[in-house]
Assembly symmetry: C2
Homo-oligomer: 399 residues x 2
Amino acid sequence: VTGFGDTVDPAPYDLNHLPYGSLIEASGRRFAAVRIGEHALDLAAFLADHPYAELFAAGDLDRLLAAGAGTWTEVRRLLIDRLTHSVAAGELRPALLPLADLTPSLPFSVADYVDFYSSEQHARNVGRILRPQGEPLTPNWKHLPIGYHGRAGTVVVSGTPVARPSGQARDPSGRIRVGPSQRLDVEVEVGFVLGGRSRPGEPVAIDAAAEHLFGVCLLNDWSARDIQAWESAPLGPFLGKSFATTISAWITPMAALDAAWIPVPEHSPQPSSYLVSPADRGGLDLSLRLEINGTVVSSPPFATMYWTPAQMLAHLTVNGASVRPGDLFGSGTVSGPRRDQFGSLLELTANGSQPLTLPDGRRLGFLDNGDEVVIRGTAPGPAGTRLELGECRGRIIDT
Amino acid sequence: VTGFGDTVDPAPYDLNHLPYGSLIEASGRRFAAVRIGEHALDLAAFLADHPYAELFAAGDLDRLLAAGAGTWTEVRRLLIDRLTHSVAAGELRPALLPLADLTPSLPFSVADYVDFYSSEQHARNVGRILRPQGEPLTPNWKHLPIGYHGRAGTVVVSGTPVARPSGQARDPSGRIRVGPSQRLDVEVEVGFVLGGRSRPGEPVAIDAAAEHLFGVCLLNDWSARDIQAWESAPLGPFLGKSFATTISAWITPMAALDAAWIPVPEHSPQPSSYLVSPADRGGLDLSLRLEINGTVVSSPPFATMYWTPAQMLAHLTVNGASVRPGDLFGSGTVSGPRRDQFGSLLELTANGSQPLTLPDGRRLGFLDNGDEVVIRGTAPGPAGTRLELGECRGRIIDT
């Protein structure tokens, strides 16, 4: 793992970061942790003398997410304080376990999963490929962050193998075919993990986004393009997406991303008032990278997204839909303006018509069985450092 | 409440039915129950001397759903046996609470919620209204049960008030408007509650549907047509649906519906093999009724659905998506061929252009604040009787 997105190597998971996760020991015991270097700090053990230990007693982040933003701030302050000042090496060591001995598990119970479509470049690329005769952007695109619900029950943690999905598709000849997807794709996304609970019928105002935005993860919205193309009219994607969505094992808290905010993008036309606020902290300057079988095939810049996380959350709830701890939304595929910044094979290969060439000479249109996909990301940290986000990894297996 | 759908009055929730629910006492205590007449039988209390009491100890149906089909059969057999033979009136009475003293709560934790689109008449009606120039049915419609994911976190139990959603819409003039929906609609549906757990990557074969189909409820897929129309291209419905979905407080187990099955509808063209099996038990002859402010405005026949519950489940998982206890899918709006059998106001009023006239002279296009919607249903029971399904009720309130 090396640095990217700039010339600075990422910092080694120090006190400025402290991403949260859930790990499983060889014994089968599961525990909630923050990552420190190449170790996981067992939070229930580390905080055993503190009431906050209870937040982590179930081995995942569910209680922390439910506790709300005030508690998130206090827990982080407590951890940094103890790790900085109060802990002699001997006190820390029993709670510090080498990652090499651990298996990641899904850090939290995913409540509802929504996928947005907030990269203008991606939407234009897809529009040009799928609707070559029409306008690339639908008329609503610049008025609201388009989104749809996905399947929460098939969100899996980084490292989980992904079985190639089967399903119906229509060949170019018009024949209906059933079988393994022949156009299996990735989508490089950033996921936002929500906590706290809003009341039904009461939108989360854009100014209140910080009360619910707990943290970010990297997310691969695996997509079977042939299944998706055939099924999607008129109600949108379903089985082309629902077989699996991978998230990173580590959730970077928003509190670690203070240096990553960038101004709200220019919006033209001006969006509706519920999507606009001087309190919107803006976008995030995350540098992403897509690797297939160890080769970097793309470097999507998250800073190019049209809609901000706060806008997506405000939109998600403007109709009065409530949010729950464990809700997750994806940004939509991140694609920058250059071809080597596109976040899906659909775009990188022009729908398979212009395959990539891998170092071993293989021509790659879509994914084969055995292919391993890794999404990496870094974020600006304090004083010119970079934080490395948890990787999002998955290998395609036969069914 | 009177009988309908035929000339037989529904039976008074006798031992042939025993729908499951979750109730709250005035004290705040929540308990799982079956309905017997106008009473709820507290299952944890009634089965206190039996290991199965543990299934109901949490006050909802979650553990029962997780226990799987074998346990569902045994629990039902146990209940019928005890209620028929072994219980003296004095033993039963402490566990029997009058419904008048109880408040319904959501019977189970909704895991993933999927909404199908399985009524051909409904799809044709909607296609004609929304795409008057094109073919009413999209090319995929007769090849697969179209569906999409909805918001599980906003599924509410019958009786919960529904706050009118706000959101963006585009006026006929092209102006973007933000505010309360002006075209708030209902969709009469049947919901299917799933239990057991399938393995990721392994489809639930159509022959195995009974291992996961626990029971049916009535379902109102509230829809804000103005929000939905503007947002839906290209990824489908989102905020037009996600503000609320109401289900009945009582889940009728599939085991009570033996007399309700009807043959698999004629399918032309022949669907893919994963959607066809001699073991498919077929459709269900449920008679539904839509009431607005006490007036019956429609009587949709569920027997007219094109796709069967087993076909919907087989399709939902053909890509390897796993199912979990608490998964819920809706059939899609149920519309019969006659106008007085349409299951939405969109269809009943030709998108508001031909309002209904209520007995008080009011012209109703879409729902006003204060309007109360009730969906009722009956099913064939043993020996010519009818079972009455739990009602699905909701009143629109201002926000």
